[in-house]
Symmetry: C2
Subunit: 346 residues, 2 copies
Amino acid sequence: MKRHQTTILDIAKELNISKSTVSRALTNHPNINPETKKKVLELAEKMDYQRNMLAISLITNKSYTIGVIVPEFISSYFPKVIVSAQIEASKAGYNIIISQSNESYETEVKNAKVMLANQVDGVLVSITKETRNYDHLKIFQRKGIPIVFFNRICEEMIVPKVIVDDYEGAFKLVEHLLQTGKKRIAHLAGPDSLSISKGRLNGYLDALKKHHIEIDEELIIPYDLSLRKVKIYVKHLLGLENPPDAIFAVNDPTAIEVVQTIKKIGLRIPEDIAIAGYSDDYASSLMEPKLTTVAQPVDEIGKIATQMLIDQINREVADWKATTKMLKTKLIIRSSTVKETTSNPE
Amino acid sequence: MKRHQTTILDIAKELNISKSTVSRALTNHPNINPETKKKVLELAEKMDYQRNMLAISLITNKSYTIGVIVPEFISSYFPKVIVSAQIEASKAGYNIIISQSNESYETEVKNAKVMLANQVDGVLVSITKETRNYDHLKIFQRKGIPIVFFNRICEEMIVPKVIVDDYEGAFKLVEHLLQTGKKRIAHLAGPDSLSISKGRLNGYLDALKKHHIEIDEELIIPYDLSLRKVKIYVKHLLGLENPPDAIFAVNDPTAIEVVQTIKKIGLRIPEDIAIAGYSDDYASSLMEPKLTTVAQPVDEIGKIATQMLIDQINREVADWKATTKMLKTKLIIRSSTVKETTSNPE
DNA sequence: CTGTTAGCGCGTTCAG
DNA sequence: CTGAACGCGCTAACAG
């Protein structure tokens, strides 16, 4: 309940000098007697002195804390991005407060308020699948706290964003499916509140168009990312009069679920039906068959987003840039779409 | 650079009342005119007012923030525990600051200092594989900031701990291997600075003893959790004059690596060699063969650890308890040890 | 080089 | 029910 905090005052008393002198010693100020400084530092060490960042933040109006708001924590995607963000933030002397919203809009709003109350210097945000109103995020802008979106961005807010070329990734993936001889490619499309869903869907559509394949609306399933429903959709697709010979799922966890379902039904992958996902989840290369997918440069996403954010933090509000950085994806072909993977050298 | 913060003073000025009144309205104080309160709240909402937790924490000497220090973020284990901890903390009005140490002792020390400087009310800690000195953690105790260990605990510190029965889990697992007819079971043992390694190793040893299998030191490989080295160890084991017919790896990521290596070599799993891991990682049920492993109640670990921590926070230092809560594990038998998994109802 | 003073935003006395 | 005054731990601006 009651904490023992060593304060500057304690040190000053002990050494019988003024508080400011102690403060200067602790903050490598230029004007300070090296001997005094040494004495102070030694005593501070001995007394377990630790600067109270709260007080400093209160004065300087800077907390050296970055907030990270992500929709979930279960797939390997966000943890990876966060690790990279933390490393980058740490280099610049920033800490990170993380909160995950469990794909709930309400929780996201709450988390945003907490970040605000904790005086973060900036926020890195990826929205939930439910988020359609952005008032809670616009507050940051109004208060002059920079915000950078990554992956799941808010299109209507004019702020920096880090995304990958979802359109191109999906396009290449679908072209690959066509090249393996597939004709009827189904798509489990994500909610259209997410720009990633739209990008991937459009890549899918345009790839079909380019190859003069007629688009069959029946094969495009609107899907809200609830893994539980995957099984139903797969069965529905297979029950069609003219069933698909490939399924492109909007993300890897979904594709994995599709594979499990198909295997249970007893169809051969990829001969009877090919499966592909998006984002190269940790499990994708381990399962059987291995999942063909589109890899995102996760490390780079975390790093660049953090750099952009810190850049904004160091800028006057009037100087804020709203550049969108779009990174390239990489198609990873594995055995869920091609019978024999050419063994990659390791 | 410059933030626009709405303060109590701003609201007071606007409404032409005193700061204390505004403060009272904002903190549901008993003595306040309902009308004044309503006016204040409305204006606060309109002005995007958000309490400055830094100032409040400074005064009350409470930050309502819990620090979480974990060694890594890549396996699904820690993210899962953290999600559960965050949910539990949130119920009690606490926020979470997370830092991962990348299995580096140095980073862990730095992270601990950051937590301290940020005036966390308590910390949840799981140490790195390198940590052998605990001074950076003992500071918390000296300062009266409660600390609760989970999973990777520090044995010499007398504080609450949440662990699973690693001994029993390993014992059951090894017994299972013996029951499938395996006689020479190798073990990739973790660093003995980690109590989990010791528990699992002892479970392994005692299971063998119970079944009168002679212990062969050659089959026990000291291993520092660096996945890169797994391949070498596996090849070494297989090259023995009398090679093992089963490998029990100290954790799932390692076991997965073992499986990959064995598959590449061309041996049959489990006929030629059975593989088992520990912790039921996300990928374990998806890979081929599916991995036999020991599941930990991750949700419960995060929840109980957080509850214990908050309980300590609400106690006087003199009243601190140092109970160790040991949770049960569950053996999960899959196709990496038994040819045909009895299909579980789903 | 060092000491003194003010004040960051807010809750909490104490008077009215 | 409300207002004024104080101080949390610390830095910054000013004097010496």
